[in-house]
């Protein structure tokens, strides 16, 4: 019902008054900026909350990096800032684990799931498929506010006495289930669990909305095979989320029961501090199965939108159609399906039946095939292109580089035999920070640079973007590349200090180097934040289609209106990648241009299942040939 009313509102409204009349919305501050139901505003809300959370999580990472680089040094400033969490200027070991845990949680869920999917699905789905808004704008609004609430609860845990959750972002019980096992497993863990329940609610509300909008509200002519790859990626991501997140709710709720109501779903035969506990019959491995049943699809929820965004940006800025559009879609579908049957590769050494480990190893290495296809297709798209290096393009190329580097180390970790010695070492840290951390963040940044004109009607400064890219790109490699070798030497992750092990102390100089590289990359983000905020207010006014792009969002006016297009929604006639088509005047043909207007560039391939069109095309060619002969 709400869909219809919004559409009616939009159409009626703009027909009646024209879109330059600003007083007409009767929007109060509350309905325009806070409880907005407009997908473009909700996208901005997600983006700005996501960026804020990213900055917070980045600062947390710098704090624990300082501890790793200078394990014996006191920093009085830390005590001033963190109080009891850093007595005498040195991080408390428990708080170190809290930092690691919350850094991971915020980055994976709040930044790269909500910040990435939330922002770009909301912004682009209606604009690229040609809809006036989401299927349910109200659910969309709820989705943001659940997310906001989850963020607040997660951050609030820093202000309670015992500090935030500290069992790692994977919160394996019994560590997370026994409030006495560590400080962070007390109230902090309760807040973590509550926060995640709200987060999952937000994610589901969003995901259902994305799926139904894409399936039901595409404009005339926009069949599935004419959708940009961004939409395909968001669509499949949303499906993954809708199917996988509920399993985490189940896992989390059972954990809440174990913690608070004395059940034993995950607990059995426990003796804590010499005291025998009454739990019997549960299995800690059960939680790991439930967690990774979400957790593994989750890493694809993180990376797929980034891949979709980069497909779009690489095609646009290479001025070339994306190579193998169908293969790109099928590999996304392949990844989506396979990602549900690979979760066990996180559990090779947990005591799970080794035969099962072998099966998961096979499925895991199969999923590398579609990922490889995607990489090769990106390379083929760049080949013989006419590449325009906008900051967005730089970040998209950086994404591909990270995706290759991090993806290849996945072949080591996916191999159960090798995982025995690499599990829970820095090799794993290096692997996932490259392939899903850096790559997905680069996808997000690429998206921000590319669609900033669409979001705010202003342009960002290119040269600051260049500076931002190079510092971040080089910094990320300097941080994560050496970590592989620490892992190969058997240095475990989540260690507060390596001072207790003589064999690990030789890595101290590397740790110091990594920390300074991390600080450099973190400071480079100031260039981005300044550029972002400054450009919102004082940036150059954006033209309607600044990148000469084909997709539909650039046919909507720069000034935002509720309903996106004044008058009728444009019809779509072609796929979104007609760049540099031979015979065309310009090097791009927007999706909304009918084939009848581009007779000189049409190819037979454009008229599949279109007899009449093909006939017209042949006639035109014949006529043209005659003309040439006459000449």
């Amino acid at each position: 019902m709400s869909t219809i009313s919004v559409q009616d509102h939009g159409v009626h409204h703009h027909d009646g008054h024209g879109h330059d009349d600003h007083g007409h919305h009767h929007d109060t501050f509350l309905t325009k900026y806070i409880f907005s139901q407009d997908h473009k505003m909700i996208a901005k809300q997600f983006l700005i909350t996501g960026i804020t959370m990213a900055v917070i999580a980045m600062i947390l990472s710098i704090l624990f990096r300082i501890q790793l680089a200078y394990p014996d040094k006191a920093f009085p400033l830390m005590e001033t800032l963190l109080g009891r969490f850093a007595p005498n200027g040195r991080l408390d070991p428990g708080f170190f684990l809290s930092l690691v845990t919350i850094h991971g949680t915020i980055m994976v869920f709040f930044v790269l799931t909500a910040g990435l999917s939330g922002t770009f699905s909301n912004l682009l789905i209606p604009l690229q498929v040609g809809a006036r808004d989401m299927a349910s704008p109200f659910m969309n609004m709820l989705s943001y506010w659940f997310f906001f609430l989850a963020s607040v609860i997660m951050l609030a845990s820093f202000f309670i006495e015992k500090g935030p959750a500290s069992g790692g972002w994977t919160i394996y019980p019994p560590l997370s289930a026994l409030p006495k096992a560590m400080k962070g497993s007390d109230l902090g863990m309760t807040l973590w669990l509550i926060s995640m329940v709200f987060f999952i609610a937000s994610s589901l509300l969003g995901g259902i909305n994305y799926v139904s909008t894409i399936l039901n509200m595409r404009t005339k002519g926009m069949d599935l095979w004419k959708m940009p790859l961004t939409i395909w990626a968001f669509f499949l991501t949303a499906i993954l989320g809708v199917l996988a997140f509920p399993v985490l709710v189940a896992g989390v709720v059972l954990l809440i029961f174990d913690r608070s109501f004395g059940t034993s779903f995950y607990l059995s035969e426990i003796v804590l501090n010499g005291k025998v506990m009454p739990f019997e019959g549960g299995s800690p491995i059960l939680f790991q199965h439930l967690f990774w049943f979400l957790g593994h699809p989750e890493v694809y929820i993180v990376i797929m939108p980034a891949l979709g965004i980069s497909s779009e940006i690489i095609a646009t800025n290479s001025r070339k159609p994306i190579f193998g559009y169908h293969a790109m879609v099928y590999s996304l579908i392949g990844i989506t399906v396979l990602s549900f049957i690979v979760w066990g590769h996180h559990m090779f050494v947990t005591g799970m039946n080794p035969f099962l480990g072998g099966v998961f190893m096979i499925t895991t290495l199969i999923i590398a095939v579609p990922s490889a296809v995607k990489t090769f297709n990106y390379l083929a798209t760049l080949w013989r292109g006419n590449i325009r290096f906008t900051p967005a393009m730089l970040f998209a190329i950086g994404l591909v580089s990270f995706f290759i580097s991090g993806g290849l180390t996945g072949i080591f970790l996916g191999n159960a035999a090798l995982d025995i010695n690499l599990h829970d070492t820095y090799f794993v840290v290096a692997h996932f920070h490259l392939v899903m951390g850096s790559a997905a963040i680069f996808g997000m940044l690429a998206g921000v640079y590319h669609w900033f004109p669409r979001m705010f009607g202003k342009m960002m400064d290119d040269r600051l973007g260049y500076l931002h890219f190079w510092l971040t790109f080089i910094g990320a490699y300097l941080v994560f590349f050496p970590m592989h070798f620490m892992g190969l030497d058997g240095v475990p992750r989540r260690y507060y200090a390596f001072t207790e092990f003589e064999s690990m102390s030789r890595w101290l100089s590397v740790n110091t180097f990594i920390t300074w590289a991390a600080i450099m990359s973190a400071l480079a983000q100031v260039a981005f934040l300044f550029n972002f905020i400054y450009s919102i207010f004082f940036g150059k006014k954006a033209p309607m289609n600044p990148w000469n792009s084909n997709t539909m969002e650039w046919t909507a006016p720069v000034e935002h209106l509720h309903g996106n297009w004044p008058g009728e929604i444009p019809t779509v006639y072609r796929w979104p990648y007609d760049y540099s088509k031979p015979g065309a005047e310009e090097d791009f043909i927007p999706q909304t241009v009918p084939l009848s207007e581009t007779m000189s560039s049409n190819q037979e391939h454009d008229f599949e299942d279109n007899e009449i069109g093909l006939e017209a095309h042949k006639q035109w060619i014949a006529a043209n040939r005659k003309n040439e002969e006459v000449k």
Binding site: D27, T28, F29, P76, L77, E79, T80, G83, R84, N88, L97, Y172, L175, L178, S268, I270, V271, S283, P284, S318, K320, F323, H326, A327, V349, G357, G358, V369, N377, L379, L382, W383, N386, I387, F389, S401, I404, S405, L408, T409, F412, N415, A417, L418, I420, N421, H423, Y466, W470, F473, Y477, F481, F485, D489, R493, F501, S503, V526, Y577, S580
Partner: protein, 394 residues
């Protein structure tokens, strides 16, 4: 409009200010108990000077960047005024990628040589040799792919940088090429899967590995406990409900096999014999990680796990091989288990069988005097002799 109204609203400003102040006070209150270690004002002042110094440095860098930015812009504009072409950022970025490729490849190579040589020494177990072979095969394949794809990525970026007078080549798809680069990775991965699968099966499916020596490894926050079988070569049963007093592993003394079990501080194992580690945790999940033996398995409460392996190189031999007199094999925890996770290690000593037998003779029995008397009180062990009774009566 609405935004302006909000900014102008005094009520909201006041509310915001109160919140800020209140928030600050809360924070301060939280920090107060920790600050009992009275930091002198001078130290505080020195600290803030230090902080100020770094902030100032950063601001200077920012100003520097801004000035350079301006200069570049002015230079650009004057060039344009004089009719020359503007700075071609597109070319600069393309050259940047080419330079990055060269320096990056060099850096990666340097890393492989220098940091790669800080890798673990050769495997000290039989199965570990297979793991290392598997690793080397995988490494060879992935490094080739890594180098080729990165060269293509940055090379294409450089060679196909945009020019006004050129047009990209319209090339939407080629089914043959796509099939080729689907099938080749599929074949390579199949090879890796098959090799990996068999390596994994030989390591984990260790039914025919005898397990000559059974050793109990129990993890708890934040230490490992070791229990060796006595002359009977059999470990006594244990049950978590029996944990208490001196019996911190919960050994069941109704089982006669447990009478001669021994405790040890170091995991000493003889070279060339098959070892079976029986692993369990008492409180939370820990992980037995012995990287020199390419061995890792989680210690899970309520779920006993095990790992069978055969050490091949004694500690003394490894000291000579690594040329490090201080070298020790280690067992440490690799699964986050609480505040002390980073300090949960046991030294592992691989010795010759004779040294092992001598060492075994010196170990203390698990059933020590304190435990004996506790068990007698509890009525689990029979009271023998009046002497004890007298002692108890006292």
């Amino acid at each position: 409009m609405a935004f302006k109204n909000l900014i102008n609203s005094k009520k909201l400003t006041v509310l915001f200010a109160t919140l800020l102040l209140g928030g600050n006070q809360l924070l301060m209150a939280a920090a107060a108990p920790a600050a009992t270690t009275e930091v002198s004002e001078e130290a505080q002042a020195a600290m803030w000077t230090g902080v100020g110094y770094y902030v100032l440095m950063f601001l200077l860098v920012c100003v520097g960047v801004a000035i350079v930015g301006r200069i570049v812009k002015v230079y650009d504009l004057t060039n344009q005024l004089q009719g020359k072409t503007a700075t071609n950022w597109n070319n600069i970025m393309a050259i940047g990628f080419a330079v990055f490729l060269v320096i990056g490849m060099f850096g990666a190579f340097w890393s492989f040589i220098v940091q790669g040589s800080m890798n673990l020494p050769e495997s000290a177990s039989v199965h570990g040799v297979k793991t290392d072979n598997m690793f080397n095969i995988t490494f060879g394949i992935t490094v080739i792919v890594f180098i080729i794809t990165q060269i293509l990525l940055f090379g294409f970026s450089y060679f196909y940088r945009g020019r006004k007078d050129r047009r990209a080549y319209f090339y939407p798809h080629n089914n043959t090429i796509e099939k080729v680069w689907t099938i080749i990775p599929a074949i390579v991965l199949t090879v890796l899967v098959v090799f990996g699968f068999f390596t994994w099966r030989t390591i984990t499916n260790s039914v025919d590995v005898k397990g000559d020596i059974n050793i109990d490894v129990t993890g708890h926050q934040f230490a490992w406990e070791l229990r060796y079988p006595g002359a009977d070569q059999k470990l006594g049963k244990k049950h978590y409900k029996l944990v208490g007093g001196s019996n911190n592993l919960g050994v069941d003394f109704k089982d006669k096999n447990s009478f001669d079990d021994m405790r040890a501080d170091t995991l000493v194992i003889p070279v060339g014999r098959t070892i079976r580690l029986n692993i369990i945790a008492q409180d939370v999940i820990h992980s037995v990680y012995m990287p020199h033996f390419r061995l890792q398995i989680n210690a899970v409460p309520g779920l006993p796990t095990y790992f069978k392996f055969e050490p091949t190189i004694t500690t003394a031999q490894m000291k000579a091989k690594t040329n490090d007199a201080k070298f020790e094999y280690l067992l440490y925890c690799s699964k986050i288990c609480g505040d002390g996770h980073y300090n949960m290690k046991k030294i592992v000593k691989v010795v010759t069988p004779t040294e092992y037998n001598n060492w075994l003779l010196q170990q203390k029995p698990y059933l020590n005097d304190a435990l004996k008397s506790e068990l007698k009180v509890a009525g689990i062990l029979p009271n023998d002799g009046a002497a004890n009774q007298v002692a108890l009566n006292n």
